[in-house]
Symmetry: C2
Subunit: 237 residues, 2 copies
């Protein structure tokens, strides 16, 4: 299938995305955050984490997996740390809120660390440490997810491909940013291949029987980047 | 060359190592820490970071690169953070001291973060987060080093293979620990191959002309684990 030639301007796409989330039951401010983070991913060229995911988010809201009107609560707090219960909020909604509170702590005591529980999909997590870098702080964000990655040499998922994002401000140029899954590729890259009707390289994924596959529609589990190193990073972070 | 059949007991080896560092000019307490961390690596089976390194440490003390009697100072401090000037102390000496102070901060405010400047080689960095795990805290330690790793597709060193170590306490079993360089292997693994007279696999290192090599004596630069992911992890952490 040929690459789409359709080009969509930033603002109408963002308005459309926001409208979808509004109709799915989210408050206006939260729908705005969700739309902004998705479009941010598209504008960075990370289409795997952009508006491509909208139908999947809506499906998860409809199923009750994601909560469009969460009761987000601070469970525990110290001068430098924060434990937040997300009540299954969409990732961007609770994570931008947590980043803001954690950054306020960092201003006070030098560093802030937040833990979010009962969260759902985080989106392109590079967005959050960049919030810190734009305020002249370094940011690190790590997300956990259900097992979707194969322990080295195994055939079924046993660990998660927990993504890691780090942003560091610079004096004169744009902030440096790392945003990576601990698998060879994020699952979104495989969905993107399905979307484009393309095959995937050997070494990205296994099928349901634990065999290597180049067919993105047969994807069942991800392979860790760098073998045991990606595996352990994904397990421990 | 055949594997050595000589077995050495823990205590005499530690005493020998301590004696070497004492004679190199270190105070008794510091020589003890240095010996303990080296032997710890050997006992974990990480011979690349064990007593194998003693001649190299002594050489660096003799050259004035490492300072056996450093004037370690706190440069800056907040309730949760610490900036320490190591005055070119040996890594274990200043890092165990920093970990202790940072762990005290974590007890007070929930998290502690220390930065060490003017440090030298850190040793097997898994030792330090494990200090935290043994006190029922999670620990992360990252070290920077001079460029020794090849940007993906390049021929000479441009970034560092900054190692990452994470330790997490468990309720019933030994602490989980990750201790890895962001190169395919740490340089010590290549020195170990030289020591054993073995060749190294393709993909570990390049020679001085930027060509892949299986001869550990020709090693000039390391290759990043997982290509661009190991490269960026090494650059940003």
């Amino acid at each position: 299938m040929a690459e789409s030639k359709v080009r969509i301007a930033y603002e109408p796409l963002k308005e459309f995305a926001k409208e979808v989330f509004l109709r799915a039951g989210m408050p206006s401010e939260d729908a705005e955050i969700e739309a902004a983070t998705l479009i941010w991913a598209n504008l960075r060229g990370v289409d795997s984490h952009g508006v491509l995911r909208i139908p999947w988010y809506v499906e998860n809201i409809d199923k009750g997996v994601m909560n469009p009107k969460p009761n987000i609560q601070v469970v525990k707090e110290t001068p430098a740390t924060l434990l937040i219960d997300a009540d299954r909020a969409l990732g961007p909604v609770v994570t931008t809120l947590t980043m803001k509170r954690v950054m306020a702590k960092a201003k006070e005591v030098g560093i802030g660390w937040g833990l979010i529980r009962n969260h759902t999909h985080q989106g392109a997590i590079g967005y959050y440490p960049l919030m810190a870098a734009e305020k002249d702080m370094a940011g690190i964000v790590i997300a956990c997810n259900p097992p979707n990655m194969v322990p080295y040499g195994a055939r079924v998922a046993g660990v998660q491909n927990s993504p890691i994002a780090i942003a560091v401000p610079t004096k004169r140029y744009r902030s440096l940013i790392l945003d990576m899954a601990t698998s060879v590729v994020a699952a979104g890259k495989i969905w993107l291949a399905v979307d484009k009707g393309e095959s995937i390289p050997l070494g990205w994924a296994l099928d349901k029987d634990g065999n290597p596959t180049t067919d993105p529609r047969k994807y069942a589990t991800l392979l860790p980047v760098g073998g045991p190193k990606g595996l352990r990073l994904g397990t421990y972070v």
